[in-house]
């Protein structure tokens, strides 16, 4: 049994938040990870900031730009994970990073270090199934779950992607980049049903989920929801409180409160 599965609290009504390493500071990333776990997170998606984040909308792009500005790197992001564990984060942590930083770091080095640093998974949004074989082999060899994505237009590839998925399967709610959407894809339920038919791991849905209603609806169809841009915005909203030592705890409390509102339907 993988560490991912061992650390996973539950496999239904999962909540998978995304934070950007180093946004607004590395220390706050650790605190935020803990706060999210306290708020009910089942898996933490930990982003590595990238100069050219093709799959992301403006909110996550800007978070990445801020984090790069702060000197965040893939190496430093990995080193945050043991700190998070020390702080008490016991849920699975999945590193989110684009393909080019992975290549420069070295695939094997990366998964090895992830393992050593108590991470559980890796998500690379721009490595589709067809380009993933080498990375998957390295990940499997080191017990790191390579998280796969599947999209509404994946069609005949849905089966192939779902069957080889590990950790959880990330379903893209609708075409486009990450970020809030006013309306959800109306065909989402049939898409998710199709995915679930072929998947042996929990199925989570992400991209554009930002309201209490949307979380509730998605929990009806899927095993979990991934929330990214909305979390970034909540953190942005509390940034000035978080950055001052005397108001930090207050700020974290308010983050927790807002996340509860999102989840308590």
């Amino acid at each position: 049994m993988s560490t991912f599965d061992q650390r996973l609290p539950k496999t239904e009504n999962m909540f998978i938040p995304f934070i950007m390493s180093g946004d607004p500071t590395p220390d706050l990333s650790i605190e935020l990870a803990y706060t999210l776990q306290e708020s009910g997170a089942d898996v933490l998606e930990l982003g590595v900031p990238y100069s050219d984040p093709l799959a992301d909308g403006p909110t996550i792009q800007q978070a990445a730009a801020r984090a790069i500005e702060q000197g965040m790197t893939i190496q430093k992001a990995i080193q945050l994970i043991p700190e998070m564990r020390k702080r008490g984060v016991h849920i699975p942590i999945v590193l989110f990073t684009y393909c080019n930083p992975v290549l420069q770091y070295g695939m094997e080095t990366l998964v090895k270090q992830l393992k050593e640093n108590e991470a559980d998974g890796l998500l690379v949004p721009d490595i589709p199934l067809e380009e993933s074989e080498e990375l998957k082999q390295h990940a499997e060899a080191h017990g790191i779950q390579l998280i796969s994505l599947v999209a509404p237009n994946s069609e005949e590839r849905i089966k192939r992607i779902a069957e080889q998925a590990s950790g959880f399967l990330y379903c893209v709610s609708s075409l486009g980049v990450t970020g809030e959407r006013a309306e959800m894809n109306p065909n989402i339920s049939s898409f998710l049903e199709q995915v679930k038919r072929h998947s042996s791991v929990p199925v989570a849905v992400g991209f554009g989920i930002s309201t209490n209603d949307q979380v509730r609806l998605m929990h009806e169809y899927a095993d979990g929801v991934i929330v990214g841009s909305k979390i970034i915005k909540i953190i942005e909203g509390e940034q000035s409180a978080l950055l001052k030592e005397e108001t930090k705890v207050e700020g974290l409390q308010r983050v927790k409160g807002k996340i509860s509102q999102l989840l308590n339907y």
Partner: protein, 392 residues
Amino acid sequence: GRFGDFGGKFVPETLMAPLQEIEASLTEALQDEDFIAAFQHELKTYGGRPTAFTYANQLTESLGGAQIYLKREDLNHTGAHKLNNAIGQALLAKRMGKTKIIAETGAGQHGVASATVAAKLGLECKVFMGEKDIERQELNVFRMKLLGAEVIPVSSGSKTLKDATNEAIRHWVAHCDDEYYLIGSVVGPHPYPKMVRDFQRVIGDETKTQYEDVKGGLPDRIFACVGGGSNAIGMFYPFLGTGVELVGIEAAGRGIQSPEHAATLTKGTPGIIHGSMTYLLQDEFGQITEPYSISAGLDYPGIGPEHAYLHASKQVRYESITDDEALEAIKTLSRTEGIIPAIESAHAVAQAIKEAETMEPSESIVINVSGRGDKDMSTIMKYFEGSAEHGE
């Protein structure tokens, strides 16, 4: 979808379907005689092909070395080879039933070419352009609008070409059902690099015929500049394996020892950019760095994956030329031949001049003059006036 170790489709899952759709349609189209005929018809009756093949007698005589021929892509409608590809892809988009095209642009040349073919074929057109480039290229922005295109300012990242490309891809992901993304060079995920090469190879095919008609046989060397690399691939591809020495020229900017250059193959390392495995300029953690060249068309941190392959397999030799050398070559070609090349193309001219001098008068070379310099006149003017002030 690979050229040796390079190429591929490193894209978000949502783009896999539209890329497969394009690949399937392209394969079908390239086997359809009507499509090929329509493409050739537009190249001829609209774009002005075949472009001229000029013997540069004065330049040849002044150097006293190899005989120099010029392939005149500067004579294409809209002023550069870019149109060949834009026509091809827009015809494909129409065949696929798309009603809108989107495109990225840096200096505006591909944006203008895209807006042009969109107008000609009755398609809607959106052009993504970095805010910094919009400011620098006011006239090209107006030109695109005059052609009926919508220009969408991009404020992310460095606000230049790389970011305009990112933004075009992001937009496309959300709108791929009715929009076609018309990439301007042999970059991006498969099948783009192959497709753009197939639409640009007309340059090399014509050159082969024209050289045969004028001189017989094959030239000794061929020179073409490389940014993304579409004019170079278009020129080189039909000559691969023929024994002709092929030379691609990158932009060395202020010098490849300085941090300010765009010499991707010379100084870059393998990685992924815009969905493709190739060489690129990046830092140790894989963050893409800003390239520099006085030429807006060579100012790209990546390079087409087929060039990476041709470099690795030593089928093409890649050299680099500085801003100063390129500008000097503009002056030389203007004064000897009455042709003001684009700054991009001047990189090829500069390297060709260096090498022609050392060659025998019995040998001959071809330079691909990929575009005209009109678009660059104010840059060139500022450069020479700047030089003059410093007593050069």
